[in-house]
Every structure is written in structure tokens, then in C-alpha cells.
């Protein structure tokens, strides 16, 4: 009897072991991912983990969802010589410090052998280079723009504004009608503040001035930036942001847009991921356009950002596996699969998308906006997002300082003067990412 139980237990244990993915490949490729909801985890599991593990018998990709504190956990882990093989950071500014500390593997040889230089858009690839070596690949390129509710706009006879003057005119009319012109909120993600600063600076001061300021050729206290922050302050005072900015979450922001509580929502291309949920049954009502431009600045300007980068840890236990996983991702096949189910988050900067045919289920607004973005970049009408191009302390100050301007704790001049001082110190410390020439 005891022998029988032992045999059965042993058999079941072996069966479970055989079914466990951990034993599917020879070597595990560990990857720590940020937050992802169950649907998104399912998408990664189906289109990335399962397909990669099936195609590459030597390696076994494992994703560990670490939540919003991924960066903090990574820094501690890498410092202690542990952590994942595949390193995911929130942007080039974080890569710079890690690369210079020797925590990341130079990818030049791997890129050459796998043909990444031919597959990835050079502008974005250059953002992963530090001191002449390639350390990071961009996971997704993203932009900020103006989401709007087509029905609310047409019902009221409003046109999507293309200039700041028209924007303020239509926003005043919206406020008079009790509709929030700038549907926005930061209750769950305080850095949402920087989206507005990025938009104002790129669209009012203009990308040329942004480039000069980011390379230290111009001070942040100059008039174009004063005008940009003054505009944000004016919009706040006139009630464009509504009464509940500090209470509304980024999901409620899209929900309010769908319900017509707000007419426009300046946010990033990643918000396309929330559109199907909140615009259910009225997907045709969502529109996306460039943010209006100020005088002398062409329209539209799309501020470019890299929300996330991929690198390989210098102490990775399986660098070959991590390189193989990256190679799998930077491919038209994976691009098509993942963008069919999860738009806005996996806009891999591939050079050639001519063979990519997204499913008919994908939002037409998403496909159109990505085409508009590509065209704008081609015409040099791109700007700079704060989280990609500003160094860490400057970026953090943008997030906290603009609240102080809005709530009359400091003036525009004080804000920009402090911003300038922090930026200059970080520039001197070599923490500013290399900004490609325009």
C-alpha cells in the first residue's frame, strides 16, 4: 500500500515537473517587467513567452512582474551584482548612469551580428549610445498629443484647435458650457504633470529652443520657456484642468473623455491602450491630433519619448538568451502580434513596417496617429519629452515644481530659475543624455 502511494506520488510529481515551463528550456532568461494588468500579462504570455520558448529550445524566457517600483528594485539588484538578465529601464537617462557604472553589457557586437542596426530606426538607436557604445534598445517610442471626443466637439460646433490661440478660444467656450477642456488627473501617477510641461514647452517655446536648452546652449529662464510656463499657469487659473485634477486617475481621465465630462485630454500614445475599455460601443468617437502650436512653431509638433529601454546586465547569467529574446521582439512578427492586442505600449521603432498588417480590430485612430507621427518625425517636426531627455533630478523637479506654480507657491520665474540651476548641475556631472542634432 505504502509502496503504491509512493509510486503514485512520484509519478504525479514527475508529471507536474514535466508540465512546468521552468524545465522547458536549458537556460532561463530572467526579465523583470513593470506593471501590467491581467489582460496585458496574458498578451505577453501568449505572443512573447510561449512563442519565444517554442521557437528557441535553448532558452526559457521568464517574466517577473515587479510593479511600479521596478526601477528602484533594479538599481538595488544591479548594485549588488544580482538582478535579471534583461534589464528594463524607464529611459535613456537611467541607462547612462548604469552604463557608466559598468552594470550593462555593450551591445555593439550583438547588434552587428543580429542586424539590429538595419532593423531599428537610427534616431532611437542613438539614444541608447553612451560614450560611443550601444547599451540600450528602445522598447517603444511614444508621443504626446491631444485625444478628443469627436461627438462632443461636433455637437458643439468646435473644431480641433491647431494653434494656441484657437485652443484658448475653444477652451473658454468649453468652460462656459461646463465641459472640462483639459481632461487630466494625476492622483495615481504624479509624473502626469510633466506631460503638460512637455507639451507646453515643445509647442510654445518650440523644439529648436528645447534642443538648445537640453544641450546647454540656452538657459531655461529665457523668454520662450517663461511664455510656456505662463500659458500652463493661465490655463490652470482659467479652470481648463477642471476642479479635480489632483483626485482623478489616468484611467478616470479617459473615462471622463468618453462620457463627455471633458472634451480633450492631452496625454500620451500609451492611452490608446485604455480607449477600448472606456470608449466601448463608441470607438468612432475617439480622435487624436497633435497638440496646438504657438506662434512661429510649426504644427504639429510631436514630442518623442522612449518610455522604456532594454539592456543586458553585465553580470547576466544568460546574456545569449537575453540577446535572443531581444532579437525575437525586434521583429515584424512580434510587432504585429502584440500591437493587434495591445496598442500604444509596444510601438517598437522598427525601420520597415511595410509588411506589417494590423488586424481590422485595431483602432483606426491608432493606425492614423502612428502614421501622422512617422510623417512628423520625417519632416523634423518632433520635440523632446522630459522623461526621455531631461536628467533625473531636473525631471523630478518638473513634476513637483509645476504644481507649486499652479497653486501659487512659487512664480514662473522661480520655477524656471530652480529648474535651470538643477539642470546645469546635472549637465556638469555628465548626467544629460546625448541629444541628436536636428
Amino acid at each position: 500500500m505504502t509502496n503504491n502511494i509512493f509510486k503514485r506520488t512520484s509519478f504525479m510529481a514527475l508529471a507536474v515537473m514535466a508540465a512546468t515551463p521552468l524545465f522547458a528550456g536549458d537556460k532561463a532568461v530572467n526579465w523583470w517587467y513593470e506593471s501590467a494588468n491581467p489582460g496585458q500579462q496574458e498578451a505577453l504570455s501568449t505572443h512573447l513567452i510561449d512563442k519565444f520558448n517554442a521557437s528557441d529550445k535553448d532558452h526559457n524566457l521568464i517574466i517577473d512582474y515587479r510593479g511600479d517600483a521596478l526601477t528602484q528594485q533594479l538599481r538595488v539588484a544591479l548594485l549588488s551584482g544580482t538582478g535579471p538578465d534583461l534589464v528594463q529601464t524607464p529611459g535613456p537617462a537611467f541607462v547612462a548612469a548604469m552604463a557608466r557604472a559598468g552594470q550593462l553589457l555593450p551591445l555593439d557586437d550583438i547588434a552587428a551580428s543580429k542586424g539590429w542596426n538595419d532593423r531599428i530606426l537610427p534616431f532611437f538607436l542613438d539614444l541608447g549610445r553612451f560614450d560611443g557604445k550601444l547599451y540600450a534598445l528602445p522598447k517603444t517610442y511614444e508621443t504626446l498629443g491631444l485625444f478628443y471626443n469627436k461627438k462632443v466637439m461636433s455637437d458643439n460646433g468646435w473644431k480641433v484647435p491647431t494653434t494656441i490661440k484657437d485652443f484658448e478660444k475653444v477652451a473658454d467656450q468649453m468652460v462656459a458650457k461646463g465641459i472640462v477642456p483639459i481632461g487630466a488627473g494625476n492622483s495615481n501617477w504624479r509624473p502626469a504633470n510633466e506631460w503638460h510641461v512637455t507639451l507646453a514647452m515643445n509647442s510654445i517655446a518650440g523644439p529648436d529652443n528645447m534642443q538648445k536648452a537640453l544641450t546647454g546652449q540656452m538657459s531655461w529662464t529665457e523668454q520662450p520657456f517663461v511664455d510656456s510656463v505662463n500659458a500652463l499657469k493661465r490655463w490652470w487659473d482659467k479652470g481648463y484642468f477642471g476642479e479635480n485634477y489632483f483626485s482623478i486617475s489616468t484611467e478616470q481621465m479617459i473615462s471622463n473623455l468618453a462620457e463627455g465630462i471633458s472634451a480633450m485630454a492631452p496625454t500620451g500614445s500609451w492611452s490608446f491602450g485604455d480607449v477600448p475599455t472606456y470608449f466601448e460601443g463608441q470607438l468612432d468617437n475617439v480622435g487624436f491630433a497633435g497638440f496646438p502650436s504657438g506662434e512661429g512653431v510649426p504644427y504639429p509638433i510631436y514630442a518623442l519619448g522612449i518610455g522604456t529601454t532594454f539592456s543586458i546586465a553585465s553580470k547576466a547569467e544568460n546574456p545569449e538568451g537575453a540577446a535572443a529574446a531581444l532579437d525575437f521582439m525586434f521583429d515584424e512578427g512580434f510587432y504585429t502580434d502584440i500591437n493587434n492586442v495591445w496598442q500604444g505600449e509596444w510601438n517598437l521603432p522598427l525601420r520597415d513596417l511595410s509588411n506589417v498588417k494590423l488586424s481590422d480590430d485595431v483602432l483606426p485612430a491608432y493606425t492614423a496617429s502612428m502614421a501622422a507621427l512617422a510623417s512628423a518625425v520625417n519632416n523634423n517636426q518632433y520635440g523632446y519629452t522630459s522623461w526621455t531627455f531631461m536628467p533625473p533630478a531636473t525631471n523630478s523637479y518638473v513634476v513637483s515644481g509645476i504644481e507649486e506654480v499652479w497653486l501659487d507657491e512659487i512664480t514662473t520665474e522661480q520655477f524656471l530659475s530652480e529648474l535651470d540651476a538643477i539642470f546645469k548641475q546635472e549637465l556638469a556631472e555628465g548626467k544629460v543624455a546625448d541629444i541628436p542634432a536636428r
Binding site: R75, L79, M98, R100, R190, S247, S400, E404
Partner: protein
């Protein structure tokens, strides 16, 4: 030979407390981004803190927080514990109810209050507004954000105080309580002359610990406001966290940590003095 018995504790103490504490003190004199090599800068981190208006705001908020937690939970805890003494049946049930908020994760409690109570679109505040009450989300205004967070932490915390005080009150000699009753002592006289003096060491200990805990407060503030709006609810620990992990200024964060520790050390000094007094 008997000295070997302290070895395990000593190893844990050195590895988990002493080394990180010493490293934090050393780092406060360095500029370090947490990744590259640290650079010695003397007292510059402290000088920067001295001139940092957010630091003074955070310190003031910590002091307000300490004052709130030295009064409300201790008073409520004492009153409720004394009432529990009079309950002949069901005191265990009430203790469980009072302790319930404490066992819920701080993140969950904070999110529930933020989204289901305070939120002006989806919370109870929104519901009451529909019935004509002029309410707003306290987390959204600079004047009330800190208090809005403190209310949630107080809700989560006072039950613990009540249970601790109840346990202490049960140790007060029954003869003293009976004698006071026979003398016709009122509730307040009983509290003033019998119960509070009887548990004074526990109250003092809880007050000292409250000072230390108040300077370590992080979770509720970070989840509910992240120190905003406009740094109005910033406390030293959230400021240190942002400096270390968002701005990559680990040396600056270490200097803030030392300030936090100083307040804890003062409280610990009083605690040790108290202990010595009890021993004599």
C-alpha cells in the same frame, strides 16, 4: 562561554542594523547617484538641506504628524480601553473589530480611502455631494492634504492603541479599582487617579514609540498623495525616497535619513532614561 549566546543576535544586529546605519552616515557626506563611484563633498548635503524649502516643509509636516498621533489615537485608545473594562461580555469581539483596520495592508486601505471615499467622482464624497453637501477631496488641496492622509492612518492605528491600553489596564490591581468605586469615584476621577497612573509606563512608552514611528511615516503618504499637491503633504521619508530613487541623489537622501534618525534618537534617549528610572 555563556557570551556565545549573544552571538546570533550580534551577527543579525551588525549585518542588518549597524552596517547599513554606518554606511548611511558615511554616504551623507558623499555625492552618489547610487550607481557610480561616490565623491566626498563634506557637509554639502546638509548645507543643501538647510537651504531647501521643501525640507523645511517636510520637517514641519512631520512635527504636525507627530502632534496628531500623540493626541488623537492615544486619547481615543485610552477612552475606548477604559470602556472595554466595563464590558462584561464581548470585549474580545470589540478588540477584533478595533484591530481589523491594522491587519489590512496599508496600500489597500489607502487606495480604498482615496478611490472609494475621498474621490469626488467615484467616492462617498461624490455621493454626498449629490445630496447637496458641499464637500471636496481633502487630498486635492494644499491646506488639507496632510490631514486627509492622517485621518486614514489614524483610522488604521487607533485600535492598536486601544488594545495595548486595554491589556495594560487589566493589570491595574483590582483592589484599587474596587476601592475607588466604593469611595464613589466618577469615571473621570477613576481615570485621573487610578487607571492612568496605573498604566503610565505603558502610555509613556507608546508616546515615545509614536514619536519614532511618526518620523518614519511613509506608506500612506506615498500611496495617497506622493507628497503633493505642491509638496503640501511631503514628509521626510517620502522626500528621502524621491531624492534617492527618482533624482538619484543618494547622499542627499542619506542626510535626510540622518535628520529622521536624530528625532528617533531623542525619543530613544527618553525611553532609556525612563527604563533606568523604573529599574532603580
Amino acid at each position: 562561554m555563556y557570551r556565545l549566546f549573544i552571538l546570533p543576535t550580534m551577527i543579525i544586529n551588525i549585518a542588518v542594523i549597524s552596517i547599513p546605519a554606518i554606511l548611511t552616515i558615511i554616504l551623507a557626506f558623499y555625492r552618489w547617484d547610487g550607481i557610480s563611484d561616490p565623491v566626498f563633498i563634506g557637509l554639502e548635503n546638509f548645507e543643501r538641506l538647510w537651504n531647501d524649502r521643501i525640507f523645511w516643509k517636510a520637517l514641519r509636516n512631520n512635527l504636525i504628524w507627530t502632534a496628531l498621533f500623540l493626541t488623537f489615537p492615544i486619547i481615543i485608545g485610552l477612552v475606548v480601553a477604559s470602556l472595554l473594562l466595563t464590558v462584561r461580555r464581548g470585549s474580545t469581539f470589540f478588540q477584533i473589530i478595533y484591530l481589523f483596520p491594522l491587519v489590512i495592508s496599508a496600500v489597500i486601505s489607502a487606495r480604498v480611502w482615496q478611490g472609494m471615499i475621498y474621490n469626488p467622482q467615484s467616492g462617498i464624497v461624490a455621493l454626498l455631494e449629490r445630496y447637496g453637501l458641499d464637500l471636496y477631496d481633502p487630498l486635492s488641496r494644499t491646506a488639507t492634504a496632510l490631514y486627509g492622509v492622517a485621518v486614514v492612518d489614524l483610522w488604521h492605528w487607533w485600535g492598536f492603541m486601544a488594545v495595548i491600553f486595554f491589556a495594560a489596564l487589566r493589570q491595574v490591581p483590582q483592589e484599587q479599582i474596587e476601592a475607588a468605586r466604593l469611595e464613589g469615584a466618577t469615571y473621570f476621577q477613576m481615570m485621573r487617579w487610578v487607571l492612568i497612573p496605573g498604566i503610565m509606563p505603558t502610555i509613556t512608552l507608546m508616546m515615545i514609540m509614536t514619536v519614532i514611528w511618526s518620523f518614519l511615516v511613509f506608506d500612506f503618504v506615498y500611496v495617497m498623495t506622493q507628497g503633493g499637491p505642491a509638496s503640501s503633504s511631503e514628509v521626510l521619508s517620502t522626500m528621502a525616497y524621491r531624492r534617492a530613487f527618482y533624482e538619484l541623489k543618494v547622499g542627499n537622501a542619506a542626510a535626510i535619513a540622518i535628520v529622521i534618525s536624530l528625532f528617533g534618537l531623542v525619543a530613544t534617549f527618553f525611553y532609556l532614561r525612563l527604563q533606568r528610572g523604573e529599574g532603580e
